[in-house]
């Protein structure tokens, strides 16, 4: 029935004679080329004029100053130099005042109404961030093959960590700071709040509207029951009750909101007290897939339980999941589940993966008492009961929508806050990573220093190229160049080009992107072409892409603009 109706849709298309519009294609092309040229000339002229004016001003200011000693003092006109000084000073002030005004506009503490929507539902304190405890370090054994993947996980989970090599093996000690073991019944609220909080920190928003009352961030945190303390100066976020327990103070920036919204579902890692200890968000790529049985375990030092750390490509279940022993898989009518029983556990624990959604989430379930609250829908597979994560995903969707709104509203503010953010983040993490190999491998004439400091590159294993979806993790711009975009399922980068025409840059990027052959649109979500001579554009792709596509795309961009800064950051995919 539906099929038939759909088939008839094309009958509604108004008929046209295609030939009538052919010449317009050439006209459009001409127009586009002219526009690009005109814009380029316009900008060139503008820059020349500005340079001229600046030169002229400099000449007047410095010319007079340098001439001052040669000017004979004149009683008739004693203030002549003073006048010149005032002129110079006022010019400078005007110049800087303009700049300041521009920036301060971007940084203004506007009231962000979307918060209100999110917040109103939560009318009382509802969660606690418990004291951090050093004894809660977990230890990760890193296998070389999955090293980078693990790093990714570590950073998603930890605010602080350190590494140690022992007996030829490298261990990462990871400290789960702050956000631990939130109660299941609170998870809904947590999502919204954390999303807000992270974004607030990212964007420098300091004012929240709550029930017609304006609160600053600290008040807001207090209102929601958090014991986080924020230093206005540098955004350091500390746990006030156990501040001395924190091993390295400066690492306790609230992850510079690194756990930004895009990864908000990592919060689900903490949905129960101990059973649902770990959730690995679905990343699409699964370098670790084949190795999962052999290598990727982690142990909690507290209770020696073993948990399977896994990241299973949904669509690769046929090829990938067969590597798991005791695979339980069934197709139960409307819903499709994959469940893995993890060996060597005292209690049965399963990973359930529900495929009916675009945002699959893998959740370790157990016989815990709490998840009934969250996972209401039970499905019987081979006599075992599993729980749907529908609700969880609905929350996901809701939050994404919220976030998009906030993001769109704040994009300028957000970008402007990056410099501030960058200035307060320690650079020392950068050394921990393999830096610059990515662009080296591209063999491009590119100034590594300007772009890759702190950048972590994740390479995709060729072993998984046949999998769907493919890897999309291509780069991560770390702390000192923290360009974090809150768009789930996106690959983002920021390109700064000096002295170029914004339209030229946009056209080039769009063209390259199209050339790269993906159906997913590159969206230019921000440009500050009006601000100055630097063209900054922020792009996102709306879907997973193949690593080689992305590489080639960026390569093409770099080819065209060697004098640019390219900041990649997160990837993501989930499609």
């Amino acid at each position: 029935m539906i099929d038939k109706e759909l088939s008839e849709l094309k009958n509604n298309i108004p008929d046209i004679d295609i030939k009538d519009y052919k010449n317009d294609v050439y006209k459009k092309q001409d127009k586009k080329q002219k526009r690009t040229k005109v814009m380029f000339n316009y900008r060139l002229t503008l820059i020349c004029c500005l340079l001229g004016i600046l030169t002229f001003c400099s000449f007047i200011i410095f010319g007079n100053i340098s001439n001052t000693p040669n000017v004979q003092p004149s009683n008739d006109n004693p203030d002549i130099n003073g006048t010149d000084d005032r002129l110079s000073s006022s010019n400078d002030k005007a110049f800087y005042a303009n700049k300041f005004e521009m920036n301060s506009n971007l940084d203004s503490d506007d009231i962000i109404t979307p918060y209100e929507t999110t917040f109103i539902e939560f009318d009382k304190p509802w969660y606690k961030i418990k004291a951090n405890n050093i004894s809660e370090y977990i230890c990760l054994y890193l296998d070389n093959k999955v090293y980078e993947k693990i790093w990714e996980v570590v950073f998603h989970e930890c605010c602080s960590f350190y590494t140690e090599v022992k007996d030829g093996k490298e261990y990462v000690y990871c400290n789960f700071i702050g956000i631990e073991r939130l109660k299941v019944e609170e998870i809904k609220k947590v999502d919204g709040i954390f999303a807000n909080l992270y974004f607030a920190l990212l964007s420098g928003i300091k004012t929240f509207k709550v029930n017609d009352e304006y609160l600053n961030l600290q008040e807001y945190l207090k209102y929601i029951g958090s014991d986080i303390v924020i230093s206005e100066e540098n955004y350091i976020v500390k746990n006030s009750k156990n501040i001395n327990d924190l091993p390295i103070q400066e690492e306790n920036y609230i992850a510079i909101a690194y756990f930004y919204y895009q990864e908000f579902d990592y919060l689900y890692n903490y949905v129960t007290k101990e059973q649902v200890f770990k959730t690995v968000p679905y990343y699409g790529s699964m370098v670790a897939c084949k190795n999962v049985n052999e290598n990727i375990y982690y142990n909690s030092l507290n209770n020696s339980k073993e948990y399977l750390l896994m990241d299973v490509p949904l669509k690769a279940k046929g090829s990938c999941c067969e590597f798991f022993e005791n695979l339980k898989y069934n197709y139960t009518g409307e819903k499709e589940f994959i469940a893995f029983e993890i060996n060597n556990l005292n209690n049965s624990e399963y990973v359930c993966l529900e495929e009916n959604y675009d945002v699959p989430t893998i959740t370790l379930l157990s016989n815990g008492e709490n998840y009934d609250v969250l996972f209401k829908e039970k499905v019987n597979i081979n006599g075992n009961e599993y729980y749907s994560i529908n609700e969880l995903l609905e929350i996901n969707k809701y939050i994404i929508e919220q976030w998009k709104t906030i993001y769109e509203y704040n994009v300028k503010k957000y970008v402007s806050s990056l410099d501030k953010l960058r200035s307060i983040v320690p650079n020392k993490f950068a050394d921990e990573f393999k830096i610059a190999t990515y662009f080296d491998s591209l063999n491009h004439d590119f100034e590594i220093d300007t772009i890759t400091s702190g950048m972590v590159i994740y390479e995709t294993s060729s072993e998984v190229t046949n999998m769907e979806p493919p890897s999309t993790k291509v780069g991560l711009d770390y702390f000192n160049k923290t360009y974090v975009i809150i768009e789930q399922f996106s690959v983002c980068f920021m390109l700064e080009v000096y002295g170029k025409d914004i339209n030229e840059v946009k056209d080039l990027i769009s063209a390259q992107w199209v050339n790269d052959g993906d159906v997913n649109k590159l969206v230019i979500i921000y440009d500050d072409s009006l601000i100055g001579e630097k063209v900054t554009i922020l792009c996102q792709y709306e879907r997973k892409i193949y690593h080689h596509q992305y590489t080639s795309f960026l390569g093409a961009i770099i080819d065209c603009y060697t004098n640019c800064s390219l900041h990649e950051y997160v990837r993501v995919n989930l499609g």
Binding site: D3, L9, I13
Partner: protein, 164 residues
Amino acid sequence: MKISEQQFDYVYNEYAKELYNIAYGYTLNREDSIDIMQNAYVVLLESNKKFESNEHIKYFLIRVTINESIDLLKSAYKKKVVKDNDILVKFPEIKKEELPYDLSLIVNNLPEKYKTIIVLYYYDDMKIKDISNVLRISESAVKKRLERARNLIKEIIERDYKHD
């Protein structure tokens, strides 16, 4: 490598209508669709990509058309779409379930990946294999998405409209 005029003539005559149909599936607007179709060809003319075959060009054009369409729909002035609700506001005595459903609007409001499949399959009569090539996903994935898209449409109709 720019394509020759002769080659352009060929690919225009062969594929322009298809591109127009696809764009229409997205925009439901004749003028916009023509515009998008033309833009796709402008991109082709300016492209330095080396095409292996006319089919390759076709896939390229389709991708560009899809991208352009999505872009247009996301642009600010296109955000306002007339929906059933507008009618309901004007005529409060009418109940939503009494309205006939507009399948094209329902398709238009589907998530992009489903909309793309539906548009390519139904508006352009593309084969699964071709869709698979255009979208660079497996044929089984295309089938699955298609099925899900149909199910989704069914759900929407059953939920929002009372029709036998």
